[in-house]
């Protein structure tokens, strides 16, 4: 087998296999072509040099040789899988708001105020986001978890501490007209901005 052909075949092989290939595996693979270990190592070294400045590189890892993308490109490559920013539901926002303004607070407290049960998915999302964490348990039957906001939460909203959260006007007296009641916070929001 010509050296040029061996190099091409080796290169292609390392690109198509999912797992790294060890010296032994490569030698076994090229046994029909009677490639010696010395030849193999020389060609691998050549390939390594060829790819030194490229977007992908030949790396030797514990289980053998493999091509992988250049480390510095991680950021730009990862955009491939970047998801769109999520849009949060009203239920999630209210839950987050209650945790922020009324912490430490249990899920039961939130449910009592909102009048509806809080989905586990919402609590999971808020925790995965790193905005909410469990800071303890209320020592009552069932020992419900107490939730509080995190420093990441403050960072995200550029707050130094919770006292910087927008003040909420005293809750309005209960109204018959629910539409009107709903209107009040909307106006508040504009003021805050």
């Amino acid at each position: 087998m010509q050296l040029r052909q061996l190099k091409q075949a080796l290169e292609a092989l390392l690109f198509v296999t999912e797992q790294p290939l060890s010296e032994q595996q490569l030698l076994a693979y090229f046994a029909p072509e009677q490639v010696s270990k010395k030849q193999l190592l020389a060609v691998l070294d050549e390939l390594r040099q060829d790819y030194a400045e490229r977007g992908v590189q030949l790396q030797q890892v514990a289980s053998g040789y493999r091509f992988q993308t250049r480390t510095e490109l991680g950021g730009i490559i990862s955009r491939l899988w970047q998801e769109k920013p999520p849009r949060y539901s009203q239920a999630l926002l209210e839950t987050l708001a209650l945790i922020a303004y009324r912490q430490p607070i249990t899920r039961g407290d939130i449910e009592e105020i909102r009048g509806v049960s809080v989905s586990s998915q919402i609590m999971k999302t808020l925790q995965e986001r790193g905005w909410v964490k469990v800071v303890g348990h209320r020592e009552v039957p069932g020992r419900p978890q107490l939730y509080a906001t995190t420093s990441e939460f403050l960072d995200y909203f550029s707050l130094q501490d919770l006292s910087e959260l927008p003040a909420i006007p005293d809750a309005p007296a209960p109204l018959r007209n629910s539409a009107q009641a709903a209107q009040i916070p909307a106006e508040t929001a504009t003021d805050i901005e």
């Binding site: 999912e18 992908v56 992988q68 993308t69 490109l73 991680g74 990862s78 899988w81 970047q82 998801e83 920013p85 999520p86 849009r87 009203q90 926002l93 209210e94 987050l96 708001a97 209650l98 922020a100 303004y101 912490q103 430490p104 105020i113 909102r114 009048g115 995965e128 964490k133 800071v135 303890g136 209320r138 020592e139 009552v140 039957p141 069932g142 020992r143 107490l146 509080a148 906001t149 995200y156 909203f157 501490d161 919770l162 006292s163 959260l165 927008p166 909420i168 006007p169 809750a171 309005p172 209960p174 629910s178 009641a181 009040i184 916070p185 508040t188 929001a189 504009t190 805050i192 901005e193």
Partner: protein, 271 residues
């Protein structure tokens, strides 16, 4: 059905027969069967018969070709090959053309009399072109046979951070008001407003107690925060005690005051 059998090396390569056909009919039946099965249909067989005589399709010598075709069909029947109806349809077409060729031509009359073979010739020409196309497709580089597209595995994906959602502080405040408004409409009870900084400090103290079972009261105060900070921390501690979230212990007068998590056993007992 034989028409859909895989083409064998005995058949055609690029439209040309590779083997010499059963000129003499003394071929062992197994081989014959292979040959017969290798035809992809009646058009394939017909084309083969024409090409065997090194004739052009347009010359289509209908009499001998029809005869040979019938012989092959008979052989297929004899070998009990599952004979596709399509072969019989073609036999009927050939027979019809033959009979029309044998009829005396009407005198004068039509110059536009169409050769009875013309339609079949057209089909054979098109079929031959397609056979050629099929052979060329077969020879094109094929994924998985001649090359492999490359997809390098990468762990870059794992480094991916969750995308930042887009929530504004105003939205959060609005959501809070709405939650409170709902609460009032539903429960008709006043939800008290409390000093936020106190609630935050409560969280912080509880968080601290997650790492250590006990902290000294002094630890919740930060001198840098000044008077107001100390007041907030103190209020937070009192609030935590009031809400039965922590315990405050002083072993003897003037000794250090410790804050600790409520002991679980207590909770169980009270439960």
């Amino acid at each position: 059905m034989p028409a859909e059998q895989q083409s064998l090396p005995l058949g055609f390569v690029r439209g040309e027969p590779v083997i010499e056909k059963p000129e003499d009919l003394y071929i062992p039946p197994e081989a014959l069967e292979l040959i017969l099965e290798s035809f992809s249909g009646p058009m394939d067989l017909l084309l083969y018969l024409i090409r065997r005589q090194q004739l052009d399709i347009v010359e289509l010598p209908i009499l001998p070709i029809t005869q040979q075709y019938m012989e092959y069909v008979a052989m297929m029947k004899e070998l009990k090959l599952e004979l596709a109806a399509d072969y019989l349809v073609m036999a009927a077409i050939l027979a019809e053309i033959k009979s029309r060729m044998l009829l005396p031509k009407p005198v004068a009359d039509d110059d536009d009399e169409i050769d009875p073979r013309a339609e079949l010739v057209r089909r054979l020409q098109e079929y031959e072109a397609i056979r050629q196309g099929a052979a060329q497709l077969e020879q094109l580089p094929q994924a998985g046979r001649d090359f492999s597209p490359i997809q390098l595995a990468t762990d870059v994906r794992d480094q991916l951070e969750l995308p930042e959602p887009n929530v504004s502080l105003a939205e959060l405040a609005l959501a809070f008001s709405q939650a409170l408004a709902t609460a009032q409409l539903q429960h008709h009870h006043q939800v008290e407003r409390e000093k936020l900084s106190t609630r935050e400090r409560m969280s912080r103290i509880l968080d601290l107690l997650q790492t250590k079972p006990r902290i000294r009261l002094q630890e919740v105060f930060t001198a840098a925060e000044g008077r107001q900070g100390v007041v907030v921390s103190f209020l937070a501690t009192l609030e935590l005690v009031k809400e039965a979230l922590i315990e405050v212990v002083q072993v003897e007068p003037f000794s250090d005051i410790y804050l600790s998590q409520r002991v679980t056993a207590d909770a169980i007992e009270t439960a």
